[in-house]
Amino acid sequence: MPVDYLPILVMIAIVTAFAVIALTLSAMTGPRRPNPTKLSPYESGMPPFGSARRRFSIKYYLTAVLFILFDIEIIFFYPWAVLFRDLGWFGLSAMGTFMLVLLIGYVYVWRKGGFEWD
């Protein structure tokens, strides 16, 4: 029933209202005294250099993707771990297969030098 979704609508309204009010208030009340140092982006205390709109090495992406891949794999362990006893040998063998496939991928990436920066 559409009525069931009413709380979501209320939630959306509250969130929107909060964001609008907070931004408006801070814009109205806060003093504005800009200088060049204040306007430059914050980069961990380092002086900023160059534009961020340039090409990055593909290696960043590779590392990031590999991280996500093997990180998300862990998520699948949780439900299995919770029901470990109920699933028994079936669950163990299924998870074993799952890990084996990932392991093959891991070995492949490792041997291909996917974890090395240079």
């Binding site: 029901l83 109920d86 699933l87 093959i104 991928g105 070995v107 492949y108 291909k112």
Partner: protein, 480 residues
Amino acid sequence: MSLSVPDLNFRVIAPALIVALTALIVLLAELVTPAPRKRWLGVLGLIGLLIAAGATVGLWGAPASAFGGMVVADNFGLFLTLVILLGAALSILLALDFVRAHRVDQGEYYVLVLFAVVGMILMATATDLIVIFLALELLSLPLYILAAFKRADARSLEAGLKYFLLGAFSSAFFLYGIAFIFGGTGTTNLMKIADALAKNPRNDLLLVGAGLLLVGFAFKVALVPFHWWTPDVYDGAPTAVTAFMSVGVKAAAFGAFFRAFLVALPAFAFDWRIVLAALAVLTMTLGNVAALLQSNVKRMLAYSSIAHAGYILIALVAMGASGLSSALFYLLAYTLTNLGAFGAVIALSDGERERLEIRDWGGAARQYPFIAAMFAIFMLSLAGFPPLAGFTGKFLIFSAAVETGWAWLAVIGVLNSLVSAYFYLRPIVQMYMSEPVPGWDRIRVAPLVALALVLALIGVIALGLYPTPAIVMATGGFLR
């Protein structure tokens, strides 16, 4: 708390499992294979495909469902599995020398092909929209990479990227469609959707879902006006990859297309039949007209494959047993013929320099009479000249359409295939009737490519002269 384990009948997915296992083995073997021996990985892949084909034949005739109705092994799915395995095997034969000539001789090529095959097989045998979607992604991702496999070539990269972007775009539509259908019926299982529809036939949510699903499939099989990517991608991708995806994806996606619409949505048949008939007309006509004007063989074949999707769509509009079997037969005939045509392009290429312009084919019949004759026969089969496989396929599809009262669609199909003969004949005329073009006379035709061509040729002629066994096999139908 006790859990019921679903019916894990691994036998049913044996073909896909075997190919997946082969892919993993090849992946590991890649690590220890020295560079000059990479082609043995391809041979390994071929062996895996052969075993999978054996397993498929073993499943023949005893329809079974598994994983709680997620996949089936019915004769429809198994026939397509065989077509896909055949197409993959032939395209690996074509690729063994091709990848070396193009200096991309890496084991990953075969791994990606094999993973794509797993996706294709699953797509052809899936009976649940979620599995169909997973299979669609599983076959698409390797193909995006394969299209861009020739990394040094900007055109190949461009093809891969374009395919990926638009593929992702269409996947979103597809997934959105699944969501609507789930919203409308509470299930993603094709049979259960049909049951839900039978109870409540007028369901607008479902109609939107069906439309979005249609868009997703239309992209994958390249129906006009969802075809824009096809010429660019087919043209830019390495020729061996183009050969593979032009046949494999069509077989798999049409398999799921047919199954989804005929099993889950027959209640809407009145609505989608008209849409699909219109798309079929557009696809055949624009595909053929555009192909008429191409001077590049690969682009010509790309538009030709669009037109052929239109013919197959007629079979879907026709529905019924004859529509189904004619589509299966057509896909088999098309797979053999198209692989042969691309194979001939590969066979007569000089290293990385390919005979892409039609004028490059001048006098090829004098220099390479066997390859030229085979290419000519493949062209004639695509044009639907009797007594070749393409003719039988078209005859079956058109008679299925006539039988189910869609004679006008068959008439447009006949007209289109008459028009198409013209551009298919152009390379033949060029090969047989003009002077040889200088610089194309020192090609060593790779024996394995020649073998693939001969195999395809045997199939094309056999399916033209004596198609009865294949037609009988194609009449297996679905397990509902």
